[in-house]
Point group: C2
């Protein structure tokens, strides 16, 4: 029997806790596994069973240092965005059976006051994975980052890095829908083939095997108007060198820098910001969550029309999370990386 | 006798031509002096006698490399903004006696088709120096850079570097007028005293004798909302570290980098652009010249009200230009640097 009367000790939680500040890529030993019964709910608390846990480049930031959120304290459950279902509740705002999304953590059961959790609707015909594939942080990042910050106009040239990544692949497709000439930068021939042949990018640059600056000149004959940056570092510099006057750089991520053991170097071509009158603007998708409903109907429509495709990389079992997250930083994953924690109802 | 019938050979031109690409600060030997008669005017040409020549940090960029304008070719007259008066004309758009402003060059007489020259009005009660002091590039840079790019709101904290410079001193005063808490960064006690006591800045930081990062913490207790950057380099990094979320960086200049013999390093704190959701935007005042009339009445009113003060550093004689321009890069000038080329009518 489920609900507010069920005895919590029946729930055995399983958690990954942060054991060490990562140096370079994550290592297995940065996390420790804990199992313990869930405590009884206090008044106002809710228990959520996590179903799908999202693994994202920003996890590395959260584990390493204070940034736009405080660093995860050592010994605490690792922070992570997940979707889950309320299984027990002493909070009138989250009745049992409600699907929710939020910072539920790398664990089977979340217990807390529900702050920051957002109720989500199960979309008929879709798995809850949709909320990691396109309706969650990934889709909203691509949608608002490109349209609100990058503001591409029809006929302009859009370049996106980490173009086979979860965000990048969606940015390029939205750019296509908006009538841009879209060039993606990705690592390796398989990723490059995928974004051109399956997703409809106009061109792809394999940064592992090509000179990016030369390729940008070749594939962006009219220069770059919008550069959606997921990687920072040398590729950002190459893009800056090819930007048109009044170009816009969407500073979304800098994955090339997150695992660096040296202090990151700033972009050497920074002076071009002045001479080319560039706008470089950073953003965090959390700021846009209150506007999610502006984007979701449009994203669903594009999916239904087959104009927005995405690939999921679903790893089965919470136990796999520390190993899986490392794939984000060694370039080995394609598509949105998700850990399946438990079954959808 | 003046006018289109006067024989041009009566006009002996005097010019500084660019002889070498500068390395580090300008040197006297980067320029060579030429005297020669002015050629007869062709149909559609105009002859302008230069009166006041503006010396600006961007001169170093023009002399060194292609940027937002092509580099000045070696052997050509050095490029420079000046105000002058039409003394002979075969161009109906520029009758004799018209005052004009534009890229008239480091010379006594400009001869050309008038492209890019703007007629200017002599403002009653003011010297034509007004067009270098506040109504020309300097005032428009401060006005549009701060208000259009920086968009400060009342009560916000504005920091400006090179604050005793021609642009910086005006930016701070406009920030004051708009109700900002204004902190200037300048080199040396005399400049710092001037911007606080005479111009009304709330605080000044002497970067030559103070730790800028510590001083920004002290003088900007609520963080920085708008940073108007004229210098780049280490001071830009210190400002980035102190920016508030959603802060704006007006990328106006990077004088610390112009004379560097090493390739400039990008801002090491660049990753903060993402986590703090900063907007860094470059601009060039030339883009705003068509909107000058939006600003000029307001600037004149503030001057008349005593709310906008400026200091001129007028050097007498075109011969002095190569030596004078070096003062911009060794920190020794205060106020707008102008060379008086000939007398006002």
């Amino acid at each position: 029997m489920k609900g507010i009367f069920r005895h919590m000790a029946e729930y055995i939680n399983r958690q990954w806790r942060l054991a060490a500040r990562p140096v370079g890529n994550f290592k297995d030993s940065d996390f420790t596994w804990h199992e313990e019964p869930v405590p009884d709910l206090a008044d106002g608390q809710v228990l959520v069973r996590n179903i799908y846990l999202s693994l994202d480049p920003t996890n590395r930031i959260w584990a390493a240092q204070d940034s736009y959120l405080p660093a995860v304290p050592l010994g605490d459950v690792m922070r992570g965005v997940a979707v889950g279902v309320v299984e027990a509740s002493r909070h009138a705002g989250f009745p049992v059976g409600t699907f929710v999304q939020g910072l539920l953590g790398w664990q089977l059961y979340y217990v807390g006051n529900g702050q920051g959790l957002t109720p989500i609707a199960k979309i008929p015909g879709h798995s809850l994975l949709l909320y990691h594939g396109v309706l969650g942080a990934i889709g909203l990042t691509a949608y608002f980052g490109l349209l609100d910050i990058g503001r591409p106009r029809e006929g302009e040239t859009l370049v996106v890095s980490a173009a086979a990544g979860a965000v990048g692949s969606m940015v390029g497709q939205i750019g296509n829908i908006k009538g841009c000439h879209v060039v993606g930068i990705a690592g390796g021939p398989e990723k490059c083939r995928w974004i051109v042949e399956d997703l409809g990018f106009d061109a792809a640059i394999d940064y592992k095997h090509e000179d990016v600056a030369a390729a940008l000149t070749r594939y962006c004959p009219k220069g770059i108007d919008v550069y959606f940056d997921n990687v920072g570092g040398a590729i950002l510099d190459a893009a800056l060198a090819r930007m048109n006057n009044f170009g816009r750089v969407v500073a979304c991520g800098a994955i090339s820098q997150y695992t660096s053991e040296k202090p990151p170097a700033g972009p050497a071509n920074f002076l071009l910001v002045i001479s080319k009158r560039l706008r470089i603007e950073g953003f965090i998708v959390l700021d846009y969550l209150p506007r999610a409903q502006e984007a979701i109907p449009q994203l669903l429509e594009w999916i239904a029309q087959g104009r927005l495709k995405y690939r999921l990389d679903v790893v089965d079992g919470l136990e796999q999370a520390p190993r899986a997250v490392q794939k984000l930083f060694d370039g080995s994953n394609i598509g949105k990386l998700v850990v399946k924690v438990s079954d959808e109802p």
